[in-house]
Point group: C2
Chain length 171, copies 2
DNA sequence: GTTAGTGCAAACCTTTTGCAGCTCT
DNA sequence: AGAGCTGCAAAAGGTTTGCACTAAC
């Protein structure tokens, strides 16, 4: 049972072969509002097809990227050097990344269009791709950080675990 | 003779040791409106001190980045996966990168501040870093591309060299 | 049946790390 | 003197490539 979605159809039109592997990958990229990196995409795809190779993930992403079907983001490198991918169908938007919890919000709104127009006019530039990424702390994490700061200033009464379990680190 | 500039002074205040190697690197990053990547920075630095090691470049960049003294850009990956660096003193600005010739223009202007304010209000977000990068064709290259397209449509009369000599490629 | 696409292994490029020795302050 | 830095070598991430085999059209 194949989900028919935008990437799927766009590739079909271009005469690209829709292999089992690609269908799995397109499905993962296209649905899920998630911003996946190559490694996570690979992990998820492998659950559906354990033979699927990491290289196929990279090759597919490269094709989609060069075909202008996905955008590549780095989300302010909040968690390393990976790139993240999303379908290039939606309206232009900025990515707002919490550097503490990693949550990604999307901002649509007229300042983006205005910025784009002004740049085109100002330089006589022909824009093909645009990207705005913002890093900082989300409302929730601002509160948590304030608490952490406060706690750190007090003499410790017991072992305190930093709440950063979600964060991947280099080994 | 040492150029006194913002990075230099900022590090002095922080009690960071200003070694010969760092002075060379700071000098290169700070003057030159250039957006250098690690490798080019290394190459240029080595001209002044042939013993200077690539690792020192990376360590210095990392320190400056983590200290909030430089910003890291990728300029829409117009020429590979390198990161580019610039001093974080100037007013917020967008980078406008020509995907054909690599020229980088900087756009200052009120839409950027407006965007920033709106994001902060909308999400109750505390912005620490913001980055807007735009890729496309500069006025000059739009013309050249039009010519190339035209030439490609004609039967070729002789060997034509593509004008991409400036472009670095993977081997 | 063709030709594009896949998997595997190995290469590649960029960046980081461990450690002994050097050098700023 | 001593902590902080550097250079060197080696490793680690992330991504790409060469090639023989497989599968989509």
């Amino acid at each position: 049972m194949i989900a028919h979605n935008s990437l799927h159809d766009a590739l079909k039109e271009r005469g690209v072969r829709l292999t089992r592997q690609r269908q799995i990958l397109l499905d993962l990229i296209d649905k899920t509002g998630l911003h996946l990196d190559a490694e996570n995409l690979y992990r998820l795809a492998k659950q559906q097809d354990p033979k699927l190779n990491r290289v196929t993930v990279y090759r597919t992403l490269k094709m989609l990227k060069e075909g202008g079907l996905v955008d590549e983001l780095d989300l302010m490198h909040w968690n390393g050097e990976q790139h993240y991918y999303e379908t290039r169908t939606k309206q232009e938007h900025a990515h707002v990344v919490c550097l503490r919890c990693g949550k990604v919000e999307e901002f649509f709104g007229e300042p983006l269009q205005k910025l784009r127009r002004q740049i085109e006019e100002h330089f006589g530039f022909q824009i093909l791709l645009a990207r705005t990424e913002v890093g900082g702390y989300c409302a929730h994490c601002q509160v948590l950080r304030a608490r952490e700061m406060h706690a750190a200033a007090q003499p410790p009464k017991g072992p305190s675990k930093k709440a950063d379990s979600n964060r991947r680190r280099r080994k």
